[in-house]
């Protein structure tokens, strides 16, 4: 985000906090000083009148830690506590029922349900000990299933690592947003995205467009990739997920081993890449991810 975008975003927040539309027409301040000044004004005007309000402003980086810290005692928030941030994204605008459902599901007063905007909700959940990934996934699945069965609302969820202190929450929150963005890009059919499990996606997400194009053109170009049917794409994904094992892939996909070999041969004839070879498999895996990236943009 460049200076003008940041400035516009902060002015919008200031507008929201004060109800007054501001403009900067003449200023001697540097870009950094201007942004800091705007942040100060937002803090000043954003009356932190609730625990949820404090979490919202702090997670989104709209108030500095030093300002948030002064309110911790007031809202009985422990500085050092294990917390997990979940970020929920709805396809459409959610309704109030969704929020009250989540609040009912999280009766502990220390847990917080934060309405970020009309499509996003953040949850900050307290734990007594560091939760395992299985525990986190189970909790995440429960939230999503509950929202679907009770509120008929379809959400996706992303999460990162649990944090040990209040101070670390904004960075944990940023990780969840990034996980959602990368997950939606490389695995748009997914439901739960974990920042720590984004793997290659985290790296490829930052590759400039022209590099993506150059890579695909050098290896398997988009026209060729678009000719590959869903069945073959599914088979390739399964083959990669099963560590390039023909036996395991055919077993999991309920197809005959010879059918799998036939399809992989057909793919090799079309693209020149035999995914049974590790180096070719890597190239195809990256190409397919970049292809998804291009398709989802």
């Amino acid at each position: 985000m460049d200076f003008n975008e940041k400035k516009a975003k902060l002015l919008e927040q200031l507008n929201k906090a004060t109800g007054i539309s501001f403009e900067i027409s003449d200023s001697d301040l540097s870009e950094e000083e201007t942004l800091n000044k705007l942040k100060e004004l937002i803090v000043h005007f954003n009356v932190i009148d609730s625990k949820t309000g404090l979490f919202r402003l702090f997670l989104r980086g709209e108030i500095a830690y030093s300002d948030a810290a002064t309110s911790l005692h007031r809202f009985h928030i422990e500085e050092n506590k294990i917390r997990q941030v979940f970020y929920l994204e709805s396809q459409h605008d959610y309704n109030k029922e969704t929020v009250s459902l989540l609040k009912s599901l999280l009766p502990e007063s220390k847990d917080v349900v934060i309405e970020i905007d009309s499509r996003h909700i953040a949850l900050v959940i307290n734990y007594d000990s560091i939760p395992s990934n299985e525990e986190i996934v189970l909790a995440a699945s429960s939230y999503l299933d509950m929202l679907e069965t009770e509120a008929f609302a379809s959400f996706k969820l992303s999460y990162g690592k649990p944090v040990n202190s209040f101070k670390e929450l904004p960075s944990a929150y940023k990780d969840t947003i990034l996980a959602m963005e990368i997950g939606n890009t490389f695995n748009s059919n997914g439901r739960i995205y974990c920042y720590e499990e984004l793997g290659l996606g985290r790296l490829l997400f930052n590759v400039p467009d022209r590099e993506v194009e150059a890579y695909l053109n050098k290896h398997i170009n988009i026209d060729l990739l678009s000719q590959i049917d869903e069945e073959t794409l599914n088979l390739l994904e399964a083959f990669f997920a099963n560590d390039l094992s023909l036996a395991e892939t055919s077993r999991k996909m309920f197809i005959h081993r010879n059918t799998l070999i036939y399809r992989l041969d057909k793919f090799a004839d079309l693209t020149g890449y035999d995914v049974r070879k590790f180096s070719d498999a890597i190239t195809v895996k990256i190409s397919l991810m970049l292809y998804n990236y291009v398709r989802n943009k």
């Binding site: 009766p107 699945s141 429960s142 509950m146 069965t149 748009s188 869903e230 059918t259």
Partner: protein, 368 residues
Amino acid sequence: MADISLKNINKIYPNGFHAVNDFNLEIKDQEFIIFVGPSGCGKSTTLRMIAGLEEISSGELLIDGKLMNDVEPKDRDIAMVFQNYALYPHMTVYDNMAFGLKLRKVPKDEIDKKVREAARILDLEKLLDRKPKALSGGQRQRVAMGRAIVRNPKVFLMDEPLSNLDAKLRVQMRTEISKLHDSLGATMIYVTHDQTEAMTLGTRIVVMKDGVVQQIDTPANLYQKPCNLFVAGFIGSPQMNFLEGTLSADCSSIEVAGTSLQVPPAKAKALSEKNYGGKVVILGVRPEDIHDSQIYVDTQASSVIEAQISVYELLGAEVYLYFDFAGTQVTARVDPRTTARGGDTVKFALDMEKAHFFDKDTEITIAN
């Protein structure tokens, strides 16, 4: 309850991924329909389109003759049960079951009546005052079902509701769900990847793969008359064995790895009529149709193969014998009194009356 009609339903995601392809199904009132298939086959997506949680890209969904495509999920008169049955931890079983109705501002006495009736059906009456943490896994799952029942919906949608339970509890709950279907007389659609669940629960089963319906049939027909190699391999555990072989010119026999096996006249006729004489086909034989007892080997001498057993597995009521034949691992399910053991070379008789034949290229069944 309800009739459901799915006409040419497609789900195409914005990135072009075609998750469900031209799905057609008529579900009769009170039917128990199972969607089954491997992970990513589109079964959950189809269920979610019926629920309204996913938009239908094209096609029509009708419930009781009324077009539902643009009807809000909450107005479709359905209830869902998923595998991650989160219960509100601070609420009693009663309140957990009543919560959805309270949200919908249903009168208190009506809520009470519905909750107590659901509790009776699910045998939860004595647990109504308990909190979720005091319940077993099976009891919690029953509460989750109770939350669906109190709504008295036209249709129940269940997405792998038993996946999080241990094997023993899953078997028990399977029976409970079956009883529930009988007592409620409801239309139920149930998604699972477990073919045993599918076979034991369903009135009809929809087998899916890569977003495409492979076969819609009764459990018995799916098992005995699979329409293609995928269905044949998916339904049945252990899986059907597949062997590549060449049919004789008149289709009266098939040669597999140098062994000639006689094809029964009715099947030979069907194969011959479809011009498979002299062609390479896939022979499918279920593990229980491979016999090692002397009496079978003697009476079916024209369909005997010989192989060395690599693994002997005793399961109590039956024994699995694994051996390599024609470059493929073959499984035979035999009587536990068998004397065969790992390392033995044994003669096996294939029951060719029950054999299946598939086209090698299209994988479609050519003779059952």
